[in-house]
């Protein structure tokens, strides 16, 4: 939904979201998280705090993980954004997704997209992490349901599977 604008200052942005070019006019105060969810319908990016702490809104922004609730849509002109939907469709996080499912590393699932994007980032830079490195990497992603143990198990399992493949 791109709702009525009501005289709010707007800018036009053009960026790449999950591999496709997107051009939109956005209010200058719209956050990237709201832009993704409400303007593009990419509701896999979740909003848990809107102040940069919980990690539920984590996306990949120009190749690095970032909190989309702390980024203004207006500043993303020319950038590349990947969300959980894009990383799912490309198959990049399939091993992680399978491991999360098999190990029940999610309960309500609200933290899960942010957790997966963060875990994928870890495995790109540290393909064989230790348990402590995994805990460290996800320590800024809150999960209220699992107590983290199963998430750590799942990320470890995915890293082992990827190591066998490569």
């Amino acid at each position: 939904m791109s709702g009525p604008s009501f005289d709010e200052p707007e800018v036009t942005i053009e960026l790449t979201v999950n591999g496709a070019t997107v051009t939109r006019r956005v209010s200058t105060r719209r956050h990237l998280s709201d832009f993704l969810r409400d303007d593009l319908g990419l509701t896999g990016t979740h909003i848990g705090c809107e102040h940069g702490v919980c990690g539920a809104c984590t996306v990949r922004y120009d190749g690095e993980i970032a909190r989309s609730c702390l980024i203004l849509a207006a500043q993303t002109d020319g950038s590349t954004v990947e969300t959980v939907e894009g990383l799912s469709d490309s198959g990049e996080i399939e091993a992680l997704q399978q491991a999360f499912l098999a190990r029940n590393a999610l309960q309500c699932g609200f933290c899960t997209p942010g957790m997966l994007v963060t875990a994928a980032d870890l495995l790109r830079s540290v393909p064989k992490p230790s348990r402590d490195e995994v805990r460290d990497a996800i320590s800024a992603n809150y999960c209220r349901c699992t107590g983290y143990h199963a998430i750590v198990d799942a990320i470890m399992a995915a890293s082992e599977k990827l190591a066998v493949k490569s």
Binding site: P4, I47, G48, G109
Partner: protein, 795 residues
């Protein structure tokens, strides 16, 4: 000839719903698009307690994009007031509440004005334009202040005590007088809340053409919400429907009526447009139900050999400005009275509980309602008694435990605690744990100036609430569960259940149980939950999905299986009892020879009825219900062990190990069960070390964001070791007991005992949760100053 496939019950199957959630295809309330939807935001009271002299909303109304600005008085024209009375508790007093405050605000964050606008940003802009002329009143920030005889929060109630009740058995005064040792202490528990990662969310769509209301709500109890919205808004109940889609965590926080959510329904009615309200994190802290603000005086009296002679508990329970609707706020305190010392035989007991009103958000039923308080008080008193008597705390537990397998043990608080397995759980907990080695390590560490501690906490648990508890309350809360099992023409099964799933995996467990009950594979069953238009049930609370929800599913599944066998018998001209259904095939019961597929039977029953004998009427949807009619709760038990290190210089506590042994009854899905326990433990660890909502003496909120309300993080939590006993509950066919709350029930007590074990050589102890570094340092300082005056008191 076929061999029957392995039963689904007992297998660690993955959850079908999770497949959507890992790809970002979840459907949470905020993800659901509605045409012409308005965004609702609330102006909330900046004062803990203040009279509203006047409200000026004209500037807000004039803002472009604003569609409706409704004050408390505007909204109240469309509904009734409500009060959280639980009639089982004689003499309970509760003031009437309305969706929005209109003459007075009683907590900081209480909703006062609703603004509906085309976008959330505009609605929030409009909030800044609302002018309220406040007359600030005294704010009551602690239960002690609230009972000191000053300000009365609700004049109609006479005082700030909503309930005052005492439970007693035996001669407790004689027990105290005749004891070798009496340990007495006052325990304080910090107010905290569930912090669901998905904040409370609601999308209400009223249709004036037929006076109907369809609500999507992030909630645990759709049937209850349907009844409440219909009753309070005066709508025909059969035209109110509440759907709970994917829910991003609930834990008891999404179990009650919230004024702002009712107001959102009313905004939809007033505008004729769908209305969406999604709480932000700050307003979640200021308006979600809170929990656990207790000040408990406890005394435990011991014989020289460690036998407990008597126990007293005096619980000041600070519930906030109102009693929560519809269940009331008494639950935690009533559980403290019912469960303190529950694992033990205690010949004399007295528990007084008082429910106190003060200027904070209402307290509700957060995970493990009251259990953590009961457990921490009793287990810490017991440890201190053992220490004072020079006895081993585990040995003292053992001589006091209710013996395993006692069929009908009536506790000192008057509850039937059936089939407890306290010793068996303790045995499981300690198996493979080298206690002697730990004690050696602890001694060695002390020599190096490091403090290690170990704590154990037994607990008894109320799960699967039965009919009497809410039956007597007067609230529209059912303990009954229902399930509809439907045979599709293809031979697949669709099942609608009244129990709900916020990630626990209840849908999966229901699917496993019903697959076995019918005789089809798990993959051929689809489970749908969370719709008040489906079979009526209570939803998710009090760890009841695995007991009541599954029993209803088993009964529906068996009824459908019997009908399938009857129809197959008519088709094949065989006796139904000579056949069986397994893995989607009908076979000869004796030889196992395959006779006909379920798909063929289903096709005939749906499309080719002319092939059946005259007068045959297939029934392909079966609904069955189950209610634990006479017992208040299914009781079970567990025990936890925590190992910590304490840094005496910084006051920092590190969790090194955490173990749990729990009797969950028959295990339906071992993996999901373990994760329920682990998730519960970590919420309890949050309560032990981190989580506290700060208020000033005048009830001004000090923790409004995740920056200052600390939650457990992955780096602070160890792996959680879990073991189970599986003693079936005799009340249902599968025999599962609740497990969702066990972890939270005992975790904080185990940590408290561990920290105090670590501090014991310094003569220090802590009686306040959470155990923050400041509190550790203060306890050490207090001990060293009392040593100066009272040498030799070292424990």
């Amino acid at each position: 000839m076929t061999t029957a496939p392995a039963p689904a019950v007992g297998q660690s199957l993955a959850r079908p719903r999770a497949k959507r959630l890992v790809t970002g295809r979840g459907r949470y309330t905020g993800d659901i698009a509605a045409k012409r939807a308005l965004q609702v935001a609330f102006f909330r009271s900046p004062h803990p307690h203040a009279r509203i002299k006047s409200i000026d909303v004209s500037a807000a109304r004039a803002l472009k994009g604003v569609v409706l600005v409704a004050t408390g008085a505007d909204v109240a024209k469309h509904c009734k007031g409500f009060a959280g009375i639980h009639r089982l508790f004689k003499g309970m007093k509760a003031a009437e509440q309305w969706p929005l405050a209109f003459d007075r605000a009683c907590w900081q964050g209480e909703p006062v004005v609703a603004v509906a606008a085309e976008t959330r940003a505009i609605a929030e802009d409009a909030l800044d334009l609302i002018e309220v002329d406040w007359e600030p009143l005294e704010g009551l920030g602690t239960p002690e202040k609230a009972i000191a005889g000053g300000t009365v929060l609700h004049e109609s109630l006479g005082d700030n005590i909503g309930y005052d009740g005492t439970t007693a058995s035996g001669d407790v005064e004689a027990a105290l007088a005749g004891a070798a040792v009496v340990i007495e202490d006052t325990f304080r528990f910090g107010r905290h809340t569930g912090v669901c990662l998905e904040p409370r969310s609601i999308l209400a769509a009223y249709d004036p053409s037929d006076d109907s209301l369809v609500v999507h709500e992030s909630h645990q109890c759709p049937a209850q919400q349907q009844a409440i919205f219909a009753d309070l808004m005066g709508l025909p109940e059969h035209r109110v429907r509440v759907v709970c889609p994917d829910v991003g965590g609930a834990f008891g926080i999404k179990q009650q009526l919230y004024g702002d959510e009712l107001a959102t329904c009313i905004v939809s009615k007033m505008t004729g447009r769908p209305a969406i309200f999604i709480a932000d994190r700050v307003e979640s802290f200021a308006s979600d139900i809170h929990a656990r603000e207790h000040v408990v005086k406890g005394q435990m009296a011991f014989a020289p050999d460690g036998r407990i002679l008597g126990l007293t508990v005096d619980d000041l329970f600070a519930v906030g400005a109102y009693s929560n609707y519809p269940r009331s706020s008494i639950g935690e305190a009533s559980h403290v009275a019912a469960l303190t010392g529950g694992p033990y035989r205690i010949p004399a007991y007295r528990a007084r509980v008082r429910m106190i009103y003060q200027n904070k958000p209402p307290v509700g039923h957060y995970r493990a309602v009251g259990h953590p308080i009961a457990c921490a008080v009793a287990e810490q008193l017991l440890d201190r008694g053992a220490r004072a008597l020079g006895l081993d705390p585990i040995a003292v537990r053992r001589i006091n435990q209710v013996p395993d397998g006692t069929a009908s043990h009536k506790s000192h608080s008057g509850f039937m605690l059936n089939g407890l397995t306290v010793e068996a759980c303790l045995g499981k907990l300690l198996a493979g744990f080298d206690m002697a080695a730990f004690r050696r390590e602890q001694q060695d560490a002390r020599k190096r100036g490091l403090l290690l501690g170990l704590g154990i906490a037994n607990f008894v648990e109320f799960t699967g609430t039965g009919a009497p508890y809410y039956g007597e309350s007067g609230a529209p809360v059912t303990a009954q569960e229902s399930c509809l099992a439907r045979l599709e023409p293809s031979g697949h099964v669709r099942c609608l259940t009244g129990t709900t799933d916020q990630g626990q995996g209840t849908d999966t467990a229901v699917g496993q149980a019903i697959a076995d009950a019918i005789g089809v594979s798990f993959d051929d069953v689809e489970v749908i939950s969370g719709d008040s238009a489906g079979p009526v049930g209570g939803g998710a609370w009090a760890s009841r999905g695995a007991s009541s929800g599954i029993e209803a599913a088993v009964r529906a599944g068996r009824a459908l299986r019997d009908e399938i066998l009857r129809l197959a018998g008519l088709i094949l001209q065989r006796k139904p009892e000579q056949m069986m259904l397994a893995g989607g095939l009908l076979c000869d019961a004796a030889s196992g020879a395959e006779l006909i597929t379920l798909r063929e039977v289903a096709t005939i029953a749906h499309y080719r009825q002319h092939l059946l004998p005259p007068g045959t009427q297939p029934e392909l949807s079966m609904t069955r219900s189950f209610v634990p009619q006479s017992q208040s709760f299914i009781t079970t038990n567990g025990v936890q062990l925590s190992v910590v290190s304490v840094d005496p210089g910084l006051g920092d506590v590190r969790l090194l190990r955490h173990r749990v042994a729990h009797d969950s009854g028959t295990v339906i899905n071992p993996m999901l069960l373990d994760e329920q326990i682990r998730g519960g433990v970590v919420q309890g660890l949050g309560a032990a070390l981190f989580e506290e909502i700060h208020y000033s003496e005048d009830a001004v909120l000090g923790t409004g964001s995740l920056m200052d309300y600390l939650l457990p993080l992955a780096t602070e939590i160890p792996d959680i070791e879990v073991a189970h006993l599986a003693t079936p509950d005799p009340g249902t066919s599968i025999g599962a007991k609740g497990a969702g709350e066990a972890g939270t029930a005992g975790a904080a007590a185990a940590v408290l005992n561990a920290v105090n074990d670590a501090l014991a050589p310094m003569g220090a102890h802590i009686s306040t949760l959470p155990i923050t570094p400041e509190r550790v340092l203060a306890a050490i300082a207090a001990a060293s100053s009392s040593h100066d005056t009272k040498p030799g008191l070292q424990g």
